[in-house]
């Protein structure tokens, strides 16, 4: 076959009134598309600079707010509109090849700019000084590795990683299984109550739990629930978050995260449990298994996949735990964690070199999880 016939083949399918449409370019569309994209970017850029430099010209904050929302959302939509016009203006055979990239690349470029490029740049910065202007070799790593606070944070992070994901999964399974045995209304109400904290920010949750852990001097009425119970049992009021014996304060902070996350685990596990075929449970029951045996030998093996997914999700979240520690103790009393140490090096101490070196440590810690995610995805695709 010659090149001529293969090029002519699709043309035969074209309508008679439009020969050659597959080859013709639309210069006007290409031009409008290009100019449109540039104009949108230019206008948006200037609008936001104007918000920054001349906020008083817009009258009130509301005007800026509405303009910003409309401009941001509408701008993104217009950008895609002009991009599409540009691509469709290209000769059809070229545009067929370009369209997938026109769809995929804007998203990928943002991922590249916000996550992939910074990953390498962060590794780069970790070998540079505090304002990333000169290389200092392994100095940052030497500094952080010789800092006892760093090892304290690593130790605490490991403790969080051992306790929180396991506790969240255990509570999640328990709640999911027990709720499944309630009446439909009872199940709905109980699940909503446990699920609701998911809507609360870590900062809001910290405010809520600081109230629970509040301390008043002995003799005064205790306004914190924990101290009220403790004093009611005959104890002395305690400043709970300052007690690092047996890492009690860290554990009390973990309680906040567990409280936030059990709802998430419950939702996933509950839907997995509802997917367990009733006849497998029934068969075990006929064979004389009791409820406990059914739970461990029939239900748990069938929801193992979901348990692992929840565990990994919470594990990744805990690895980067920051807000709760930052807001409650800011790492004092031996409660520091890696992400909080990073934030304080970056934000309070302006030590970009050391801060990025800490992130690199975090990055190395998540690498096995990247491998796991890809393997998990491949398995899932194979089962589709």
């Amino acid at each position: 076959m010659t090149a001529d016939t293969s090029a002519a083949a699709p043309r035969q399918k074209m309508r008679v009134d439009d020969p050659g449409a597959s080859l013709r370019a639309h210069p006007a569309r290409i031009a409008i598309g290009l100019v449109g994209m540039l104009a949108v970017v230019w206008l948006l850029g200037n609008m936001f600079l104007a918000f920054g430099y001349y906020p008083e010209k817009f009258g009130s904050k509301f005007v800026i707010a509405i303009l910003a929302i409309v401009g941001g959302v509408g701008g993104a939509a217009l950008l895609f509109y002009f991009l599409n016009m540009f691509v469709e203006g290209l000769p059809r055979r070229l545009s067929e090849g370009v369209i997938p990239y026109a769809f995929v690349l804007p998203g990928l470029l943002l991922v590249g700019l916000m996550l992939i490029y910074p990953t390498f740049q962060t590794i780069n910065y970790s070998f540079a000084n505090s304002d990333s202007t000169a290389y200092v070799g392994f100095q940052n790593y030497k500094t952080i590795f010789s800092d006892p606070e760093f090892w304290q944070s690593v130790f605490n992070n490991i403790l969080w990683l051992i306790i929180v994901p396991a506790a969240v999964v255990a509570f999640g399974v328990m709640v999911a299984v027990l709720a499944d045995k309630l009446s439909a209304t009872g199940e709905k109400v109980a699940k909503s109550m446990i699920f609701l904290p998911m809507a609360i920010s870590a900062v809001g949750a910290s405010a809520i739990w600081l109230l629970v852990y509040a301390y008043n001097n002995p003799g005064q009425a205790q306004t914190g629930l924990l101290n009220a119970i403790w004093v009611g049992l005959g104890g002395q009021p305690q400043t709970w978050l300052a007690i690092d014996t047996l890492k009690l304060n860290s554990i009390l902070l973990m309680v906040i995260l567990i409280w936030l996350q059990v709802g998430f685990a419950m939702v996933l596990l509950s839907s997995a449990i509802k997917g367990v075929p009733e006849d497998t449970v029934e068969a075990a029951r006929i064979d004389g298994a009791n409820e406990v045996q059914i739970f461990w030998r029939v239900i748990i093996p069938q929801i193992k996949g979901t348990i692992i997914t929840v565990f990994v999700t919470v594990f990744i979240m805990v690895l980067k735990i920051f807000d709760i520690v930052y807001v409650t103790t800011n790492g004092a009393y031996g409660t520091n964690v890696i992400a909080n140490l990073f934030f304080n090096k970056l934000f309070a101490a302006s030590e970009a070199g050391q801060a990025t070196a800490i992130v690199v440590v975090l990055l190395i810690a998540v690498t096995p999880l990247i491998w796991y995610q890809i393997k998990h995805f491949r398995d899932e695709e194979a089962g589709r």
Partner: protein
């Protein structure tokens, strides 16, 4: 049978009823404490536990002045507006970008498709902390000079939300019948038309699910808002965090302030819970 049966014929489980009641109460008490305290006067709240007011509502002093104080005095009102301005575009824009990408990943074939998608999955795990120092340089005065503005935070949330959004939407779109897209193609629809008229409307459940998650994530975010917004643009969560930092004076405003930050995500959450659960059960991890 000695055990009582429920309406649907299953046996009633007293153990489940008791345990679940206790757990549900334990899970609710901390929030209830905050809500009750936020309506108490400063002196009242300092001299007795919130439960005394809760159980003797008529002998306690109630007030809404904490809310007024937090809203105007502690300036949560401007933080509240900022949060809305940050959260809405930071929810809509990533969906727009990701939906196009998810469409291409589902219905088109192109070189490096597999590689690009594995890249997306890999970066879902990458901690967003890697981005801060490089992005502070790019967006800050040394670079584009937009750090501190809303647009900087939208860009960051768009980038950080993108992998999860592409992943969730692609998972959903791959359950749509391929024949629909193919017949649209035969009818002469361009990909752009197929996307807008067919695939996007059919993907609404997944889009709503991700939108809920992303909205909550953006609204509740502290880290990005604190690093990339200047103080007059900062969100209600950062305001609350600053309020938490001030000890002693203004403590009574804290509980009201916390509740103000909670109320919007709570409403979104309750109304869109149905979608969110569906989205979450489609399985995803955020980096």
């Amino acid at each position: 049978m000695s055990r009582k049966l429920m309406k649907d014929g299953r046996p009633r489980s007293p153990f489940s009823i008791v345990t679940m009641t206790i757990l549900a109460i334990i899970w609710t008490i901390p929030t209830l404490g905050l809500l009750v305290t936020s309506f108490r006067t400063r002196d009242d709240a300092a001299t007795s536990g919130w439960w005394t007011a809760f159980f003797n509502p008529f002998s306690a002093q109630w007030t809404t002045s904490n809310y007024q104080g937090a809203w105007t005095g502690a300036d949560l009102s401007s933080g509240f507006i900022n949060s809305i301005v940050v959260a809405i575009p930071a929810t809509v824009i990533p969906i727009m970008f990701a939906a196009f990408a998810a469409y291409a990943f589902t219905f088109m074939d192109f070189p490096f498709k597999e590689f690009f998608f594995l890249l997306i999955i890999a970066v879902m795990v990458v901690p967003i902390q890697v981005a801060f120092q490089p992005m502070l340089n790019i967006l800050g005065p040394r670079g584009l000079g937009i750090s501190g503005q809303y647009i900087a935070v939208w860009l960051l949330h768009t980038g950080f939300g993108m992998p999860l959004c592409i992943y969730t939407l692609r998972n959903y779109m791959s359950t749509l019948p391929r024949s629909v897209v193919e017949s649209a193609k035969i009818d002469g629809c361009s990909h752009f038309q197929t996307f807008w008229r067919l695939v996007a409307p059919m993907s609404i459940p997944a889009i709503a699910a991700f939108a809920t998650l992303q909205f909550l994530w953006v609204w509740n975010d502290l880290l990005i808002a604190k690093l990339f917004l200047k103080s007059e643009n900062t969100t209600v969560i950062v305001k609350l965090q600053q309020l938490l930092g001030t000890q002693g004076q203004g403590q009574e405003l804290l509980t009201a302030g916390a509740f103000i930050t909670i109320i919007v995500p709570m409403i979104v959450f309750v109304t869109l819970q149905r979608f969110m659960i569906r989205g979450m059960t489609s399985g995803a991890v955020k980096g």
